[in-house]
């Protein structure tokens, strides 16, 4: 009947020396190397400290009912302006009459409490002597991230379309995208509200009285939203009205953020540890060679031998 090796254990041999001795210095030196060298190698090979991280989340987006629709006609000095924001002259009755109807729907198809699509519909009355040459639509959105990096901001969805032939209807399908120039300063339990203010603030009206100023201001933000066109369809033909339908889908978005110190340590630790194990094995082999061959003076303590 053959025998199988089921378990094995080592017999410990201790090597002892005084505090001030070559052996002690060598042991300290190798221990320090064992600690430092893995760190240097892990750091110099890059990627030890994670500088950014990302996650995916479908934001909670709501239309804030602040909007500007500018339908430029062939006479650019007389655009059709649909807005309720007084800064842009909503008291222009002639222009307001042309904005016959606006319809807003926020659709949640998945039933998870987050809106999956924003549907905006404008119905414009076009004076018979004018034709629409371009459309600029600015929608103000309330944008919220709620999971890893809580954030709430007021952002814009900007849709532009130019027409070669006078249109009668525009159907636009697009995705709302999250665009960031820097990583979010992600802090636990602290909602980032840096940009959580209306872009059409009344306080700004002194200096920011033009749409270009607002757009320029928005451009210089670190975190914005943008609209990516999936497809758009224009129905040609000059009629006395024009319909603009915008289907704005709100997909899951990638958000980059600066990890916390703890998170960085979490990722750095396994990298460091993997090198430490190798160096530990290596230095143990070196020490084993040196002490077993008596290259450094030390007392060898064997548990099965008693002092005579």
């Amino acid at each position: 009947m053959s025998l199988y090796k089921l378990f094995s254990s080592n017999v410990e041999i201790q090597y002892k020396s005084t505090f001030l001795s070559k052996a002690m210095f060598f042991t300290l030196f190798t221990s320090i190397l064992n600690i430092i060298l893995p760190f240097i190698i892990a750091q110099k090979s890059r990627g030890l400290w994670v500088k950014y991280h990302s996650f995916y989340e479908q934001p909670t987006v709501h239309f804030t009912y602040e909007y500007v629709l500018i339908a430029e006609t062939e006479d650019p000095s007389k655009p059709i302006l649909c807005t309720e924001i007084g800064l842009f002259g909503n008291d222009n009755e002639e222009s307001s009459e042309s904005c016959a109807e606006m319809q807003v729907q926020e659709n949640d198809f998945t039933g998870d409490g987050k809106k999956d699509e924003l549907y905006i519909k404008f119905h414009l009355n076009i004076p018979p002597d004018r034709t629409v040459s371009s459309i600029l639509l600015i929608l103000s959105l309330d944008f919220q991230l709620k999971t890893i990096c809580p954030l709430q901001m007021q952002s814009l969805a900007l849709i532009t379309k130019e027409f070669v032939i006078p249109p009668s209807e525009l159907i636009f399908h697009g995705d709302l995208n999250f665009y960031q120039t820097t990583h979010l300063p992600c802090e636990w339990f602290n909602q980032d509200t840096k940009y959580n203010r209306s872009l059409f603030e009344i306080e700004k009206w002194e200096s920011y009285m033009s749409i270009d100023h607002y757009l320029s201001d928005y451009f210089h933000r670190e975190v914005t939203t943008e609209v990516r066109t999936i497809n758009s369809r224009t129905y040609n033909g000059q009629t006395d009205s024009m319909t603009v339908q915008v289907h704005l889908r709100i997909p899951e978005m990638q958000i980059r953020y600066t990890p916390s110190i703890l998170e960085e340590f979490k990722w750095a630790w396994p990298q460091y540890l993997s090198f430490v194990v190798i160096f530990h094995w290596f230095f143990n082999k070196v020490k084993e060679f040196i002490f077993t061959n008596r290259l450094l003076m030390s007392w060898k303590v064997q548990s099965w031998k008693t002092f005579e």
């Binding site: 709501h62 655009p79 924001i85 842009f88 659709n107 949640d108 309330d142 009344i202 009206w205």
Partner: protein, 689 residues
């Protein structure tokens, strides 16, 4: 062995706990209170809703595939009489799904729920019970149950009339439902799974583990009843609604008090008081709106207008009949509104051309249009208000008159508003370009004086204005126009390339070969590149000595190497080595963190060409390049020196038996060494702001 057994049992209990907790969490998510500032909404279309319900259950989660098989029987029918039908709120879906999931729900009709299972299940279903050990098999009938009522039928819109294509409408007879093809409405995509075993069987093996814990039906304890939160009417204010944002109601009435920043500027006309305003563009680049001129708010408005809407006509009329008023402290309490109790400043209207300004004369400067050409048209005007001694002492209107064609329908007009806190004209004030160094966008300061350049710069501001900055020609319809307008100056930090055609004003004899040198001299003179030119290294040359001014070496524009020859056959004057491109290069450094700059070197380079001229038109295409090169080295962080730990340990700490050991030094060194090592290791983690 006991330990292993104990460990195995612990692992098993953790696994079971995971299963149950995960399952419960999956259920309770539906109940979590969600305050969603949503509002108007809507109303989801059922068919779209159903599209998004996944058809495959996941491990450890409640079987969501059931409603997919069940719900369509109830609500997916399309009603032709009314194209779309909608839920009233989004919670309805959750509630309905809960009824399917939770048998203990007391809110809804349980018998209906049971009908689902008995009516839809056509195969053997294995029920797994978590809280009670129960396994049973049931044969499901193939027939559909007859609808006993119209409850929960979302396509029944006609009272006591059968809705077309509405299979759940109790008003419809069986014959009518057959017409609607009700039996074919249920989608049969994918495996017709009604149980875990069938579902697992139909799926490929790779998902076996995922679907291992598929749960078909449970009977949960009573206390896990779904709680529906009551709507709070107080939260309505948090929801987004239709709004109307108006400009704040700022009083536009005249208030008898001295001007403060942001106040309207008031004008008096026959005892009535109005405020001054100016056109501006807020939607596009056309002057579609007007806004008030506000005290101490400098403006530059640039917008397009039609000929009839040009601002000069409006401003001219105002300047004729009004005067700008200031409230004085001494007469604040007076109620009389006239120039005896208010300080009135009449308008000074100037008509400026490219070279100079003069008083506006109605007879001379009145705009006139003949056919498609207008003379004395004003497309740029300046309001200049001098505020001195707590009142507006002078108000000047500068009309920049020009002659132009009016073939095009629109014109670009510019309206500038400038406030000067002095009684003097800005023309008489020496302008600096920063203190001490240059600021981006400010004019480059130059001096043509041989000596005492700094003194010369501050003296005689009127006469030498044109020579304190370097003016570049403008391009008007392709031709070079030389004037002292600020737009054409070399300004610090702006790299430019200008091109225009220089036309020689004086008669040039193309038959004379020496004319080439004359053409070159004529061009350099027009560009003010004659003689010695010195550039101020700083935006404020107050403390500069003569040797500090940087010599812009114009020797490179050497006209002596220019020569020419006249070809009698072709009647062309061929000029060689004619300098037509002038490249101004300024090297600068940043002298402090406020982006104040100092020029350390300036040079001018020329590019020469061989050009031929004919008798009819002697003109040269000139290129002017300006470059500012910042040679400032990027700032480097200097890390602070590590703190030195001055630890005083007893001498016999390490060497108890040594009489005089110099161990302290060793300790200090070793601690310092350790500290530096740690510091170096974590250097990358330290950032200084």
């Amino acid at each position: 062995m006991r330990i292993i057994t104990y460990f195995a049992f612990t692992l098993l209990s953790v696994l079971i706990q995971f299963c149950v907790m995960d399952y419960i969490q999956g259920k309770t998510q539906l109940d979590s209170k969600h305050i969603d500032p949503d509002v108007s909404t809507p109303n989801k279309q059922t068919k779209e809703k159903l599209q998004y319900i996944p058809d495959k259950p996941h491990a450890l989660y409640y079987r969501t595939a059931e409603p997919y098989n069940v719900l369509p029987k109830k609500i997916i029918f399309y009603n032709d009489s009314i194209p779309d039908f909608t839920f009233t709120t989004t919670d309805n879906l959750n509630t309905i799904l809960d009824v399917f999931y939770d048998e203990n729900s007391s809110i809804y009709n349980i018998s209906t729920t049971e009908t689902f299972f008995t009516s839809t299940e056509s195969e053997i279903v294995t029920e797994l019970t978590i809280f009670e050990i129960k396994n049973q098999t049931t044969n499901k009938p193939n027939d559909y149950a007859k609808e006993s009522s119209n409850k929960n039928c979302l396509c029944n819109f006609l009272y006591k009339v059968c809705d077309v294509n509405c299979c759940c409408d109790g008003d419809c007879s069986e014959e009518e439902k057959q017409l609607f093809n009700c039996s074919k409405v249920v989608p049969q995509n994918g495996p017709n799974s009604k149980s875990c075993s069938l579902y697992l069987f139909h799926n490929y093996f790779g998902k076996f583990i995922d679907n291992l814990f598929c749960v078909v039906q449970t009977n949960l304890p009573e206390k896990r009843k779904v709680a529906q939160y009551k709507p709070q009417l107080q939260e309505v204010g948090q929801y987004f609604k239709w709004i109307s944002i108006n400009i704040p109601n700022i009083s536009r009435d005249f208030q008898r008090k001295p001007y403060a920043k942001g106040d309207y500027l008031w004008i008096l006309k026959n005892g009535d008081i109005f405020h001054l305003d100016l056109p501006y563009a807020n939607i596009n680049n056309f002057c579609t709106n007007r806004k008030p001129i506000r005290f101490l708010n400098n403006e530059k408005i640039k917008c397009n207008v039609k000929l009839s809407d040009i601002e000069m006509f409006n401003v001219k009329r105002i300047s004729e009949v009004t005067s700008i008023i200031s409230v004085l402290n001494s007469t604040m309490n007076s109620t009389i509104l006239n120039c005896s109790t208010l300080h009135c400043a009449n308008w000074t209207v100037l008509a400026c051309n490219e070279q100079s300004c003069s008083l506006y004369d109605e007879h001379v400067h009145e705009p006139k249009c003949v056919e498609n050409f207008c003379t004395n048209l004003v497309l740029e005007l300046d309001y200049i208000f001098n505020y001195y001694d707590s009142k507006i002492t002078n108000s000047t209107l500068k009309f920049y008159v020009q002659n132009m064609s009016i073939v095009l329908p629109f014109f670009t007009q510019i309206v500038n508003v400038k406030f000067v806190m002095s009684n003097r004209s800005l023309d008489n004030v020496t302008r600096l370009s920063g203190t001490p160094g240059y600021v981006d966008g400010r004019p480059l300061l130059v001096s043509y004086a041989e000596g005492n350049r700094t003194d010369d710069f501050y003296d005689d501001p009127i006469e030498a204005k044109a020579f304190k900055s370097f003016s570049l020609p403008g391009n008007v319809q392709g031709k070079c126009v030389y004037n002292n307008k600020t737009d054409n100056q070399i300004v610090f930090g702006y790299n430019k390339r200008l091109k225009c055609r220089h036309e020689h004003k004086y008669f040039i004899d193309v038959t004379d070969a020496k004319s080439c040198r004359y053409i070159q001299n004529n061009l350099t003179k027009a560009l003010n590149l004659v003689g010695k030119i010195f550039v101020s290294p700083l935006g404020n040359p107050e403390s500069l000595k003569d040797e500090d001014w940087i010599n812009l070496n114009t020797n490179t524009i050497d006209s002596s190497i220019v020569y020419g020859e006249y070809d009698k056959k072709t009647k062309k004057l061929q000029c060689y080595n004619l300098a037509t491109r002038f490249f101004f290069q300024f090297t600068c450094i940043t002298i402090n963190e406020e982006r104040s700059n100092r020029i350390i070197y300036a040079s001018i380079e020329v590019t020469r060409k061989n050009i031929s001229f004919i008798e009819d038109s002697v003109s040269t295409l000139v290129t002017l390049d300006v470059s500012f090169i910042d040679v400032t080295k990027p700032a480097a962080f200097e890390y602070a020196h590590g703190p030195r730990l001055n630890i005083h340990l007893p001498e016999n700490f390490f060497y108890p038996y040594r009489s005089k050991a110099s161990s302290l030094h060793c300790v200090n060194i070793s601690i310092d060494l350790l500290f530096y090592l740690c510091f170096l290791c974590f250097t990358n983690k330290i950032t200084f702001h």
